[in-house]
Amino acid sequence: SRSPLDRSLLRPKTDLPLATFSLLLSEMIKYSNGRSRTVQELQSKLADFGRHIGSRSLDLLFFRERNGRRELRLKNALFLVKSSLWRMLFGKDCDDLEQSTDDERTFYFVEREPVTNRFVSFSQKADTNVNCAAFIGGVLEGALCSAGFQCQVATFFSNDVTYYEVKFEPSVLTRDRSLDSR
């Protein structure tokens, strides 16, 4: 008689009801599209939706799965998001996490098939590059910012793969480096 409050978040028993989620997300995208004039506006409206989810899921994760133990180091926070947060929300890890070679403040999360894009496609002739995974980018930004690692996340396609580009504030890097010296 395990209540839902006792079940582990990281090994969800029920599958995400994909059809319901997709229909709801589709309405959110149509609503935002009707109020946006450019692709960037649409993506930033979707990211706004996601930010709320990010900060709330982070609280839930820390409280239920980690007994209130917070991550203080940058790399550990990134790994926490890549594995635990993703598993809690999407049932799988994020595909990859890379650091930019020219900028130590920038990291890239790589996802080949974001759940938001499962049913979304465009005509072959269209050159629209709306990436509805901007929603997930917002989740990412909300989670990292609430964890104390201020950043900005941009979502884009490259070779049919979705990249979430995370750019941290310089203060985050300075703080992290000072913890190194302790």
Partner: protein, 228 residues
């Protein structure tokens, strides 16, 4: 290819999706070429802006056959009453100096406009057939059979009709209709960029799913083990 044609008609009677099996159109099995001397035996007239045989079936040339080429010159693609060299088909055939003339007969592709009109007509016919039923709650036209093809129709609860035209001997078409309905529900209805008002369905994931279904049907003859 097992399926000749797929059409989806929305609940207002507008055609929103067409798939045509291209390989069947190019097959020369449907064409025949015959040489005639003056005067021409089959009576050819202009109907629906194309030149068709209306009388005088002989040697495989049937009523409804359209002129595809005269003396080796094809008709123009958008205007089938003209040849590619600019001459009018009817004038060439009326001129005794062109004889003996060799004419290629066959079936011309339906234009997009014609398809839209026919879809609207089918929408009305479906409603009529439902009304003619002596019992309450009957569906409309579900199966139409000719000696060359069968037309299957599935009407969904929202009034969207899925039509599939196949060979008369093709089996398991109900699975195909159901699968197309699933594809429509997934890649059109869940797509935020699909507006329901008569917009054509033109999405890569939709086309890929239809192609994958057709390949599976071609290979196995049924859709029972189709991966979702």
């Amino acid at each position: 290819m097992p399926v000749y044609n797929i059409m989806i008609i929305n609940n207002a009677g507008a055609l929103v999706y067409t798939y045509t099996d291209q390989s069947r159109l190019l097959s020369s099995a449907n064409e025949l070429e015959k040489t005639y001397s003056y005067p021409l035996e089959p009576v050819i007239e202009v109907q629906d802006s194309r030149c068709c045989v209306v009388f005088g079936e002989a040697d495989g040339v049937r009523i409804g056959h359209c002129v595809l080429a005269v003396n080796g010159t094809n008709v123009q693609a958008g205007r089938p009453t003209l040849l590619e060299n600019g001459q009018e088909v009817m004038s060439v055939l009326a001129n005794p100096a062109s004889y003996p003339v060799s004419i290629k007969f066959g079936k011309l592709k339906l234009t997009a406009n014609e398809r839209i009109n026919l879809a609207g007509m089918f929408h009305s016919i479906y409603a009529i057939t439902a009304k003619l039923s002596p019992v309450a709650g009957s569906s409309g036209l579900q199966l139409l059979e000719t000696d060359a093809y069968r037309l299957h129709c599935l009407q969904t609860v929202t009034g969207v009709k899925i039509l599939v035209i196949t060979d008369p001997k093709q089996a398991n078409v109900n699975q195909v209709l159901k699968r197309i309905y699933e594809i429509y529900a997934d890649y059109a209805l869940k797509n935020p960029f699909f507006t329901m008002q008569g917009m054509n369905i033109n999405f890569t994931l939709f086309e890929e799913a239809v192609q994958s279904m057709l390949r599976h049907l071609d290979k196995f003859g049924n859709l029972t083990n189709l991966a979702p």
